[in-house]
């Protein structure tokens, strides 16, 4: 039998890697999550799917499944081996709260979230911010600068998004490795500050 794996062996992790962590890349449709992940990932980004019923209904068996609304949610993700010991996974996550079980699963154990926003459609980011806050995930906001997107002063963007004073707000170009890496650095720096400040 032909195996799906025959063509290309997957890129395995180095034997020394023992610790895996995840950061969620959150934002509305077409804000650039997939591009961002593709720019930073050391592997060709993969897509994984989860089937779920809406409105949080639990399906533990198949009884009556035809009566339930089931949606397939696709998540793109990428991988960065950061040190001999640590691998970081980035998960592109749809900013919709109705996929609550998906969110519970992804948010559990996540270091934090980077919320990508587009200044031409700032209002579309509210849902993403709501769900990240509801999950209690610490986050930073990165404006993905599109050609032709209006450029607003930082305080106006902060005000429009109602950001807390300590929440980092940075600008990046999801196609550019350096600025995308810097956005992640701002997030992790913020996480470290939060953790150090805790009594």
């Amino acid at each position: 039998m032909d195996s799906a794996l025959a063509s290309e062996p997957p890129p395995y992790l180095p034997d020394t890697v023992r610790t895996s962590v995840k950061i969620l890349i959150v934002g509305h449709f077409a804000v650039g999550k997939t591009t961002y992940i593709g720019t930073l990932s050391e592997i060709r980004p993969l897509r994984t799917e989860e089937r779920m019923t809406q409105a949080g209904a639990a399906v533990d068996d198949l009884a009556g499944i035809k009566d339930k609304t089931t949606t397939t949610v696709a998540m793109d993700f990428g991988r960065l081996t950061l040190t001999d010991d640590i691998v970081l996974y980035l998960f592109g996550t749809p900013g919709q709260e109705r996929f609550s079980r998906l969110w519970d699963d992804l948010a559990r154990g996540a270091l934090g979230a980077l919320i990508l926003v587009d200044t031409a459609r700032l209002d579309r980011s509210f849902a993403a911010m709501d769900v990240v806050e509801k999950q209690g995930l610490p986050y930073a906001v990165a404006v993905n600068h599109f050609d032709g997107s209006p450029s607003f002063p930082e305080d106006e963007v902060r005000e429009a998004l109602d950001l807390a004073p300590g929440t980092p707000l940075v600008t990046c170009d999801a196609r550019d490795r350096r600025s995308s890496t810097e956005a992640l650095i701002s997030l992790v720096d913020h996480l470290l500050t939060l953790d150090t400040e805790q009594p």
Partner: protein, 118 residues
Amino acid sequence: MTPRRNERALVRPHVVTGGRARPSRNVFDVVTLVLATGDLPRTGLTPEKVQIVELCLGGALSVAEISGHLGLPVGITRVLLSDLVDSGHLTTRAGAPAAPAPKVRLLQEVLDGLRARL
């Protein structure tokens, strides 16, 4: 009327897991690292399980990567992985929830690792 397109796709993965939607153990985060032990014969395993074991013989991969490479939904993948750990075909390395460790040190190492990529 057009038949509902995803009906077939809805059923099949559950057939793969023998009708179960929940794994026998709850240790599989999407970033849990899994690898094959390589000690056990694969006879008697379903084709999907054989694929997973073969995939994991080469080295460690995350649950999400296994799901993505095999085109199986994450939930289904978790059920199959759980079975394969129970049967001794696979083993795990610590994933995020199992490693509360010193968080500040972990974050500092992540930060240093990211900075080194600039």
